[in-house]
Symmetry: C2
Subunit: 350 residues, 2 copies
């Protein structure tokens, strides 16, 4: 199993690009100074990176999953604009002691997730370019490009009082998975339902099919979202962003969140028991009640990359979307009328 | 002077974005899940990153220059396709002990270089998105987006025997500057002409105006490049890439390189003297002759981001371009007929 230092940059690139799937949009693909592609409509672009020790650790590193996650978080941002993914640019920095096979697994994870998005959205999502560098830390920096029909990009700013609040995908699973990892659990050592939560943390699977349904419904004159966001920093934070940008108040329906909480309760019990056993109840945020912890994950946990949208009634039901609340006049976020503080993830201190 | 850890991610972002210059192409700018912009023509995209200890060190870190360099290397790749820059996506990872003012200087360097390109090319080049993360190492990952008129992208593959080889900008200055830095020299401690070489290494200044002239000449029915490359890995390597992609042989004219060598001779003498004083003549590549070292920098040194193009006679003279050789039938690169090995930069071992 050779390390990168035993091959040259060109050989490593060749091995990675062998896993690439080309796309019909490509006029000039990888191997020139820049890619040239045939984009129709408006250009949608976003960049997000994953950094070792900040977004993941060596302790629970799964190279393929890391690729899936890096692709998913970028593709979800394109989709949250109501846009179709067009291609990815992939910049990878890894130690030169990295096994080539591990780097290939990372790249394959990126390609696999781009394929999954492409199949759901009936488009090709090729890796059209990128960069490869040696580094003391693993860094995966991806740019996702997309296309939106003119006038059809869905921002955070269009929600109106009376609109329903809709969710596609899940909330809280990745946060539960992270707390399981912090509690020392590892995939495979746990019952399948808990392992699946860790897998959501390691390799989230945004519900691209729900975006495809939303775009198709809009084209057919059906319901269109008035605002949308990739809830990557947590529902409370990201719904708060829609509320702020739109000048509305977002009230969540606690009962509508029950189907999201129920699958998290065994994990909450596991984490509470582990914290008690480790004497961490004082230092960590202290949860005595599994339901309260599960609700915290659903409200404040990001990284599932659920899509949260607002839409005038009747809304995008039933194509993968569930109604979880209603926009009202005012500001901020509430749960059955009680204010919810935004407490999602922030890099740096505060 | 606060550090990042004393502010929140949102406050830091606000400070950075205050230095941003908006562009007319923006339909949705920073602050949503993704940017939406109005692109005409084909989409040109490229990504490149700079990593601490691999591409620069703390010892000679100049935050503003680092921003200039990161932007320049990406903008040059767009320009080397004969395309106009459209916007940048900027992903920054820095330790949370970083001074906010230093991060601002980095961002300002990026904006300044994008502005310089925009002015030369008569277009706006806004930072339209990006990401900010905490990290143990400084990583600057930039994606440059551009637009090319349909059918007008200039690849590496179009050179024909008989075409002239043309250079816009410089070669070897950044490599000389790097060897000066390795020899212990620091900007300001040296005569101005040597300091200027270090400045080219720290903050290269591609000749965007020559690209503007080339595009304008092409539109007016004048000379168009048959192939072009950003000579970022060194003339021998990058001209070799054109030769390989085009199926031609590239013969450089030694006399035409003289104006590039002459300004490097004092630096070559300095570096040779410093290596001798440090007893490094054995361990380092051993140069006894200043002219030979200067020629090595010109042939094998990258990072000036000179543009190297081929064009049928009469070629793009006189708009910032100098003729440095001729394409012939065959393969590989030669200097006055003598073979030149490609020895440009490669990440990882070989």
């Amino acid at each position: 199993m050779p390390q990168l230092s035993e091959l040259g940059e060109a050989d490593v690139l060749d091995r990675l690009l062998a896993h690439r799937r080309a796309g019909a949009v490509e006029i000039v693909g990888p191997g020139d100074d820049a890619a040239v592609t045939n984009l129709t409509g408006r250009l949608v672009s976003t960049a997000d990176m994953l950094v070792e020790n900040e977004d993941f650790t060596r302790t629970w590193l799964d190279w393929h999953a890391l690729g899936v996650k890096a692709a998913a978080q970028n593709l979800a941002d394109v989709c949250a604009m109501g846009a179709l993914p067009h291609g990815l640019l992939v910049s990878l920095a890894v130690p030169d002691t990295t096994e080539v096979a591990d780097l290939e697994a990372l790249f394959q994870g990126i390609v696999a997730e781009a394929d999954r998005a492409g199949q759901a959205l009936r488009t090709a999502v090729p890796v059209i370019g990128g960069d490869l560098s040696s580094s003391g830390l693993i860094v995966v920096a991806i740019t996702a490009l997309g296309s939106a029909e003119a006038g059809h990009a869905i921002t955070r700013a269009g929600a109106r009082p009376g609109d329903g609040i809709w969710l596609a995908g899940t909330l809280g699973r990745a946060a539960a998975g992270l707390d399981l990892l912090f509690a020392g659990a590892r995939p495979g050592e746990l019952p399948g339902e808990l392992t699946a939560l860790i897998e959501t943390q390691l390799a989230p699977q945004p519900d691209y099919a729900a975006i495809a349904a939303l775009i198709a419904a809009g084209r057919a004159g059906g319901p269109v979202a008035s605002a949308m966001i990739d809830a990557s920093d947590g529902l409370s934070t990201d719904l708060g962003r829609i509320a702020k940008a739109s000048g509305v108040h977002a009230d969540l329906d606690r009962a509508a969140l029950d189907p999201l909480l129920a699958p998290l309760l065994p994990a909450a019990e596991y984490v509470i028991a582990a914290q008690a056993a480790n004497g961490e109840a004082e230092s960590a945020q202290s949860w005595s009640d599994a339901e309260a912890l599960a609700l915290h994950w659903v409200l404040d946990g990001g990284e599932d990359h659920g899509f949260v949208a607002s839409a005038a009634d009747p809304g995008p039901d039933p194509v993968g979307w569930r109604r979880i609340g209603e926009m009202q006049a005012g500001s901020g976020v509430s749960l059955d009328g009680a204010p919810v503080p935004t407490s999602g993830f922030s890099h740096f201190g505060k």
